[in-house]
Amino acid sequence: MTMRSVAEIIAECQALYDDLDFTAARAWKAEVPGRIVVGYMPFYVPRELIHAAGGLPLGVLGGGDQLEVIQGDAYYQSYICRIPRSTIELGVTGRLDFLDAMLFPSICDVIRNLSGMWKIMFPKTSARYFDVPQNYRDDVGGVFYINELGELREILARLAGAPVTDAALRGAILLYNENRALVREVYAFRAREPWKAPSAEVYLLMRAGMVLPVARHSALMREYLAAAAAADRPRRDNSRVVINGAFCEQPPLNLIKSIELSGCYIVDDDFMLVNRWERADVATEGDPLAALAAAYLHGSVDTAAKYEPDRAHKGAWLIEQVRRSRAEGVIFATPSFCDPALLERPMLQRALAAHGIPCIAFKYAENSGQMQPIREQAGTFADSIKLWSAA
């Protein structure tokens, strides 16, 4: 089989990204009777459990800038972010009617309340608010979380019509460990040679992982890594930046492209934390639920939706991202009205300032269309980094 070019691989990812009818997931479900598809919103759910139940975890990350939101707007006031209204739009227009269940992670009050709205508006789909512990002790938060995972396991077993065995769960953990390792590899590759892995491509590659079976996505990442490494692309004198704050409502693809066009290489981000939530492999020995819980409590990334028990540690992960990716600055790109990210930002800004790391901030919506101000702001930031570093 001939190796596909980067353009061909990304074209496949782009088609998946553009398809708001989730045709690939529908086809996957139709292939084998009894398969289940479980939707989830950002930022984290234990996808291993869904896979172990013979299901496909499907990331529902809003409607982006291509979906015309008509009915969804009727459910929200003007001062609520965009993602719940476009998600409602996806629901009421029947685009999610093939889902067997929908999970709403513990991210903010808006997504939390959306879980209840889903129960009322789409009673045929099992809707569950998925709570995670904010206490990180094994004997406190860990016990709670293992029980919550157990409840979810039971729900999935009922939907699938068969028990979710430990063996199946260990197999799923193995597959997701492999997938996360590849995600880390793609991110490391981009940080090393960002001109060879433009962020819009990396973004589309990661988005494909939201709708494809895990093994298929892992294969796609391998293919991309090989093709991107082989590609000859011009190296630009861009500034290297980390994006922070975009972990829930996603920025339009054009925004990501605009940041790079303005003279910034994005060398790390928090766009889709679910695919790199666990920073190391989840243990495949012992009780698999305990292994997932331990990974959550002790080895997951930091984000605004998580409580940070140690004041001194606030911002440490972001600074580590900057150091690891050799970034020169941080862009806080935050959805309008995103409480967790906007309240977190001043604390992160202080942490960055203490380490002499420059930053800028702007807000967006998933359907933002006007990119000129973003380009000007990011471009000015890139220039100022160059000036400082030359000083």
Partner: protein, 431 residues
């Protein structure tokens, strides 16, 4: 121009005012008196437990409300925004951070003490978590976190209770013991909880008098005064018990005299509309907002805001026989910790039990915990009850988001709609 008429105040209001002032005085002299201070929140507060350690209770939400009522929050919010807080986020948080930035002068004009412990018992609102992280960033003091899971499926599970109790035992109580030097005494907690339960009985009696016609109380504008002691630093105290006994007697007198609610302008003459209200009030124009109701004879007979600190009218009581479990159940059961279907069921129940003419939603710009989903609440209640619902928008303590002309206009239209329904006009959607 004649001076404004004096505001009418009942004895219970005067008592509560003295209780609040007393707490602020104790906070102001905490350092001199050698008292430790714990900052904590209203929904899910652990007052009975805090009292076991002889520490003082400072409530940033209440400071924001009191400052809002005194029209101080506009400047505080702008100060916080100047210092990097987004215009999009909770104005309680910004009012608090702005007050701190401007010297931490409390609502009564005296400097508030720095907290010795931030007791983060966040119930039904994610913002609390970030709020206390921001306060910790400022004060650098110790924080005790009590994570209260959300009732996603509309029920409290054994796992949730066990988790909260474990946190109380392993996290909260040890930190309070270390801070205060006082050993935890569960019998003392039982006594406090027993006092709470007695006050809760009287409180519920008061709320349920609104089922009468005319209602002797306004369960929203008046209700925010009635919840004061039981939601804040006084639940579990003898003072709170006395307050609710006094309040109950006052309301009993009003019923005997066939009187409606007391308002800032005196007794309300006639009850024309009975409303259920969802959402918190606006505090910066509280009196103006209230006036728009009582001038037109609108009485709020039940409200959801008065349930953010506990759903006592649904049968919950603090239980001395199961002290920690009872505290856990209390935290888990607060109104905004219930899922949206459960909230809608509760409002429907209020509409029926209190014979309301309609539902009014005061949608708060900076409170997603309440606001996200309210338009579905409105539709569902109209569908289930056939009664008209209306929607106004304001904010908690940001005066920039209170537009009196718009709100009054909407309310007047709403009252006309109720009249039309009464006159037998078919709802538009059924025509």
């Amino acid at each position: 121009m004649s001076p404004p008429a004096p505001v009418v105040k009942d004895s219970s209001m005067l008592k509560q005012k003295e209780m609040i002032s007393g707490n602020y005085r104790r906070l102001e002299t905490a350092a001199a008196d050698g008292r430790k201070v714990v900052s904590t929140f209203v929904p899910g507060n652990l007052n009975e437990l805090i009292m076991c350690f002889d520490v003082l209770n400072n409530l940033p939400e209440i400071n924001a409300i009191q400052n809002g009522l005194r029209k101080k929050t506009g400047g505080y919010i702008m100060e916080a925004e100047k210092r990097g807080q987004s215009e999009d986020v909770c104005t309680y948080v910004k009012a608090d951070l702005g007050m701190i930035a401007k010297g931490n002068i409390g609502p009564d004009g005296q400097k508030l003490p720095d907290p010795d412990l931030l007791l983060l018992s966040y119930t039904g609102c994610f913002t609390f978590m970030k709020w206390f992280e921001l306060l910790r960033d400022h004060y650098g003091c110790e924080t005790a976190m009590l994570h209260v899971p959300y009732q996603g499926d509309g029920r409290i599970t054994a796992n949730m209770i066990a988790y909260v109790v474990r946190q109380l035992r392993e996290e909260v109580i040890p930190k309070l013991e270390r801070l205060s030097g006082v050993k935890f005494d569960i019998d003392r907690l039982r006594e406090n909880l027993a006092r709470s339960a007695r006050a809760e009985d009287d409180f519920v009696w008061v709320l349920e008098t609104a089922k009468l016609r005319p209602s002797p109380i306004d369960a929203y504008f008046g209700g925010v005064y009635y919840i004061g002691p039981i939601f804040t630093a006084f639940r579990g105290t003898a003072d709170a018990e006395d307050y609710y006994r006094l309040l109950r007697a006052e309301i009993a007198e009003r019923i005997a005299a066939g009187q409606g609610p007391v308002t800032p302008a005196g007794d309300m003459p006639a009850e024309r509309y009975r409303l259920v209200v969802e959402g918190p009030p606006n505090w910066t124009s509280f009196r103006d907002f209230w006036k728009m109701f009582y001038e037109d004879g609108a009485v709020v007979v039940a409200s959801t805001y008065t349930k953010v600190g506990g759903l006592y009218d649904q049968g919950f009581r603090h239980d001395p026989a199961h002290p920690l479990e009872s505290l856990a159940e209390y935290c888990l059961g607060c109104y905004t910790n219930r899922n949206l279907p459960a909230r809608i069921d509760l409002i429907e129940q209020y509409m029926n039990d209190y014979q309301a003419d309609g539902l009014l939603i005061n949608s708060i710009k900076s409170c997603n915990s309440f606001s996200a989903g309210q338009l579905l609440v409105l539709r569902e209640i109209e569908r289930r009850t056939g009664k008209p619902a209306a929607f106004v928008e304001s904010d908690l303590v940001d005066p920039r988001y209170f537009s009196p002309a718009n709100i009054k206009n909407r309310l007047e239209s709403y009252f006309q709609m109720i009249e039309q329904r009464r006159a037998g006009a078919a709802p538009a959607r059924a025509a």
